[in-house]
Symmetry: C2
Subunit: 308 residues, 2 copies
C-alpha cells in the first residue's frame, strides 16, 4: 500500500456497469471474490450494483446481497446506481453509502433509456433526495450526466444543455454531478471546456469523469479532465462494460491502464498495480469466455518501474 494519501479517487464501476453490459450473470460468490480483490488492491470506491427490476437486468438480481457484503470492507465507499425512487428505496434499505442517478443530457437518450424527459429526471432526482433526507441523510447522492459529450441517437449534445442540467440536478438536491462520455464521443478539448463550464456553474459539487475508450481517447480524456481539476475517475477492471442502451457504444476506461497512467505521472491513486492485476483472476473466473481488455496487463510494468 502507498504511504502517501491518494490524490485522485479511482471509482471502480465494473461490478455494476461492467456486469450489466454482458449477457452472462456472474454468480454472487464470484462478485464477492472480485470486489474483495479490488478492495485488497486499494480501491476505495466501488459501484457494486444497480437497483433495477431483476426482470430487466438479471445480472443485478443479487444487488442487496452484494451491497451487504461490500459493507463489511472497512473504509470502502459502497455505491449503487438507481434509475428512480423505487430503486433508491431499495438501495438505501440495503445500506449503500452513495447512490448515483444517471440523468441523460440528450433528450433522445433520456426518452429511449428511461422513457422520461430530462425535466422529469430532475424531478426524480428531487424525489430521491427527499427520500434520502428522510431515511438515510448521511448517504451521498450523485447525478451522473450521461451522453454529456454526444449521443448516438441525436448526435451532438449542446454544451449549454449540459451546464444547465448540472445546475438543475444540484438545485434539486444532488450532492454532486459528474459527466459521462456514455457514447465514446468526447475529445480532450471538449472535456476541458465542459468540465470548466460545469465547475463555473456548480463549483466543488462537480463530480467524476466517466470516460469510455470507444475510439481510443479514454486516457487522453481522463488526462484532460485531471488538468482542469477533476479528481474522481470512473473506470472498469479489464475495460468491462459500456452502456447497453447506446447502440454502438462500448468500452469503459480500463482501470489498470488508468491507475498506471496516474502512478507513472507521480499522482498517487492508493492502488497497488500488482494486486490490481491479480483482481483480473476472479473477474475471469466469474465470467468465463468474456473478453477482458487492457494494455498494461498485456505489456506488464516497465523495467525499473517505481512510483515517481
Amino acid at each position: 500500500m502507498q504511504e502517501n494519501p491518494p490524490e485522485v479517487l479511482v471509482s471502480e464501476v465494473g461490478p455494476r456497469d461492467g456486469l450489466q453490459s454482458v449477457k452472462a450473470v456472474m454468480p454472487t460468490a464470484d462478485k464477492f471474490r472480485w470486489i474483495a480483490a479490488l478492495y485488497a488492491a486499494g480501491v476505495r470506491e466501488i459501484e457494486v450494483a444497480s437497483f433495477v427490476p431483476a426482470k430487466l437486468l438479471p445480472q443485478m438480481a443479487d444487488a442487496a446481497a452484494v451491497v451487504r457484503h461490500a459493507l463489511t470492507l472497512p473504509g470502502l465507499t459502497v455505491m449503487a446506481l438507481v434509475p428512480n425512487v423505487r430503486g433508491a428505496q431499495a438501495a438505501l434499505e440495503a445500506g449503500v453509502h452513495k447512490i448515483t442517478i444517471p440523468v441523460s443530457a440528450s433528450e433522445a437518450h433520456s426518452l429511449a433509456n428511461v422513457r422520461k424527459t430530462r425535466e422529469q429526471m430532475v424531478e426524480e432526482v428531487r424525489a430521491i433526495v427527499a427520500l434520502r433526507n428522510e431515511i438515510a441523510p448521511q448517504v451521498k447522492v450523485e447525478a451522473g450526466l450521461s451522453t454529456a459529450f454526444g449521443c448516438t441517437l441525436q448526435g451532438q449534445v449542446a454544451e449549454d444543455d449540459v451546464v444547465w442540467l448540472a445546475g438543475q440536478v444540484i438545485a434539486a438536491g444532488a450532492d454532486e454531478s459528474g459527466l459521462s462520455d456514455t457514447t465514446g464521443m468526447a475529445n480532450p478539448a471538449q472535456v476541458r471546456r465542459l468540465f470548466q463550464r460545469v465547475r463555473a456553474e456548480i463549483g466543488e459539487r462537480t463530480g467524476a469523469a466517466h470516460m469510455h475508450n470507444t475510439r481510443g481517447l479514454g486516457l487522453a480524456n481522463c488526462l484532460a479532465a485531471y488538468d482542469v481539476g477533476v479528481r474522481t475517475f470512473d473506470s472498469s477492471l479489464g475495460g468491462l462494460g459500456g452502456c447497453p442502451y447506446a447502440p454502438g457504444a462500448s468500452g469503459n476506461v480500463v482501470t489498470e491502464d488508468l491507475v498506471f497512467m496516474f502512478e507513472a505521472m507521480g499522482v498517487c491513486t492508493g492502488v497497488d498495480i500488482d494486486k490490481l492485476l491479480a483482481a483480473r483472476e476472479p473477474l475471469r473466473a466469474g465470467l468465463p469466455g468474456e473478453p477482458v481488455y487492457g494494455m498494461l496487463p498485456e505489456a506488464g510494468l516497465p523495467k525499473g518501474w517505481s512510483v515517481a
Copy 2:
C-alpha cells in the same frame, strides 16, 4: 480535403518503422499503393524507408525504388531513416527530402542497437551533416532521440542525459531533434517536462513526438506533447511496428486514432479520415495476416461527426 492549413503535422512512419518490424516483406508495388493511399488522404510527410544493409533488413531492400516513387507525389516530404554515413549517402543519392538518424539516449540501448556509444553517434550525426552539406544542402537532417523516456535494457534514462544529447546533436549540425518513446515507458507528466526542458535547450529545433501505445498511453502522451507546443507527431497506420531492438516493446501510436483525436479537438491535421481508413486496405493487402490495430477503425466515426 480541409480548407484550413494544418496546425499539426502527422508524420507517417508505417512504411519504415512498421514494415521493418514485421517478418514479412511487403512487395514493392504494394508499398507504392500504400504510400499513394496515405498521400491521397492528405498525409504530407512519410518515412518511406530505411537505408540499411538488405542482409539485415530485407524488408527495406527496395528503399531507393520506394523513395523514387514517393518523390513523384507533389508536396510530400519524403523521409528515410539512416543509421550511419553509408546509409545517408544512399538516401541522399536516392533524393530524399529529409533524413532521420536514431540516436539512443540510453547508452545500453545505443550499444545494443548500433554498437556505438552516444558520443560516437553524435560524431556520426556530424559526419552525416557534413556529407549533406556537400552533396545535398537542401535536405533536412533530424536526430530522433530514442529511448528518451526509458529503456528496456537499462531502465530509467536520466532527463539530464536527454537534454544534453539534444544539445549535442544540434551542435553537431542536425536541423532538429525529436523525442521517441521507443519502449512505451513515457507518461504525460514526463512528456511535458522533458519536451519543455529540451525546448529550453534547443528552442525551435525541437522536433517530433514519437510515441508508442505499449501501455495504452500513446494518445495521452501526444496530447501532453501538444500541450507544451509540439506540432509534429509520428504515428503508424494500423499501429504497425515498434522497435525490434527493444525487447518487449511494441506498438506505434495508431495514425487513425491520432488524427481523430486532433480533428475532434478542432486541431486541423489536413488529413481526411475516411480516406485514411481506406489506406488500410493496401496495407492489409500487402501484408496478409498481419494484425492491424486501431480503435477508431473498429468503432467508426461518431454519429453527427463534423470537424469542430
